[in-house]
Symmetry: C2
Subunit: 363 residues, 2 copies
Amino acid sequence: MNELTVELGERSYPILIGPGLLGQQGLLAPYVKGGRALVVSNEVVAPLHLEKLEQSLSGIDFDVLVLPDGEQTKNLDTLNQVFDRLLRDRHERSTTLIALGGGVTGDLTGFAAACYQRGVNFIQVPTTLLAQVDSSVGGKTGVNHPLGKNMIGAFYQPQVVLADIDVLHTLPPRELQAGLAEVIKYGLLGNFAFFEWLEQHIDELLKLDGKLLSEAVRICCEEKARIVAEDEREGGKRALLNLGHTFGHAIEAAMGYGVWLHGEAVATGMVMAADLSWRLGWITQEDAQRTRRLIERAGLPAVPPSEISAGRFVELMSVDKKVQSGKIRFILLRNLGEAVVDGDVPAELLQQTLAAGDALCRS
Amino acid sequence: MNELTVELGERSYPILIGPGLLGQQGLLAPYVKGGRALVVSNEVVAPLHLEKLEQSLSGIDFDVLVLPDGEQTKNLDTLNQVFDRLLRDRHERSTTLIALGGGVTGDLTGFAAACYQRGVNFIQVPTTLLAQVDSSVGGKTGVNHPLGKNMIGAFYQPQVVLADIDVLHTLPPRELQAGLAEVIKYGLLGNFAFFEWLEQHIDELLKLDGKLLSEAVRICCEEKARIVAEDEREGGKRALLNLGHTFGHAIEAAMGYGVWLHGEAVATGMVMAADLSWRLGWITQEDAQRTRRLIERAGLPAVPPSEISAGRFVELMSVDKKVQSGKIRFILLRNLGEAVVDGDVPAELLQQTLAAGDALCRS
């Protein structure tokens, strides 16, 4: 088992990474300070992993709430269902919420923990690759609003994150690929050596090589923990983690949340960011194509849906949280392995990227 | 103008107290960092005070959202209306929410500020005595749930609190009296000299003597700022501010939120706490009666509604946030001017207090 620490002073917490962690008798019990917990999961994940989670919670008095699966459950109504359950079962301020599931479950449950009685303890047990490498680490929690993704939420840190690599074997291939989009993101935004490692090992990762997956999750969590420790509330460097997300969120919103997986939208968003970086003269066309190639090799979409016009893209990106003083801020590539924030992209270059379609990074 | 500071390190903020503050040209503008704001008010307060607030915001681009009046608007649905408005008007992460109103408006708007895009700036302009001396100071924000009051919320500090004493002249007498309940609370829980000052001046305060009201608001804010600075997240001493609230919340919940004003319920709750403290042998019967007398002189109810049985009281108090390990924790009086937390009240004494009715503090 690997143990990393997210260094945030009195809010520091460990990330436990490795195979077979969920079944370990009592592993999570010491983190449930008040002796009582509510496990929040969904109807796909609970049948697969709840029984093992119970072993790691031996000695704890816990309730279970199983929600529907999917991004469309990440809203204020479902949040209220969590509060209903907590209140009906008389959970006190000393209770612990445990998220067993992917990013949706983690974001929703974390936000519920942030708000219930103005804040209770929280544990993340991410069961998708995307959640293990990204959403479960760093304390971003929240729900969507019909007018924008993740518009309502809180920065709220868990007591511990438990990433059991074995759970990835139960992931549908499409979910695994979506997770690899965020893995590739860490290479692109700040670790060129890792980008090259991924070019070398992408096929084995797709075949669920446990050792390589553990290694990839560890590196991503280290990268993220480092960035979050420097900038917990996204005042500066943390914005780089949004590489591909400005375009990606627009794709998700235009298609309806959940139609494209978050990782798929981010993958295409990263190709668009690479394309725009190339048009700005920051990276070579070869580097842009290299980005697109790795994303395509991971089985991910590299081209946005043709039904989203350039105008609609701009409209949707204008309500993104990254907008400042009316300017859309893009995370772009100064080099492969080096992302930067830019709020001054010439409109005509942006238009070219938005209109490129299958020609992204190519002509 | 009096200026106090709530000392919370990097989250410290000033409280401005005095007459005629709202009309002062540009007084609030320097606190609206991003140059844009949404003022949230209600249909009773806005016609009275919005025009003056506009003067203190000169130079700022702001929108206004006017909500219905009353405790029943303090829920997740209304919260979502604030988010709808913010998103439709494209308010960015740099925006400021300004609460112009009483405790309901302040709690709701503050919670919206805590959650919108994971946290935007926030300014409190309390327009009731209760909000000026209590709810606007200290960073407690939130909404009610059908199963419990203030069950969903956040600790979230404002940039500034502006308490204009002149607005109290527009308060209905019942609201003024409800505010005096919290004023009396500060005397009872930690400042006996202030309790005696109130015994001396209660009649003039009811007649809206501006100088004495300013003095009372200043002392209460000082008391609260001191306690909050010691214990921002209610781990210890801050719980004393809940004197009268365990009983009071049960009354509010049993009668339906808004039927009894919060201050009225707290007033009766303080009489019940005094009664129980006397039954425990902690204060004399004369001190208990002295408490009841001051509350009655302030025009406040000293007896709970007869329709709430002792059993119903216990049931409602068991879901209170102050419950720990299944035990109801009461804030009781060790002396007049000295409150303490107690989780070990003998059931038979509690029953006597709950069943006393008009005999509270008397026999």
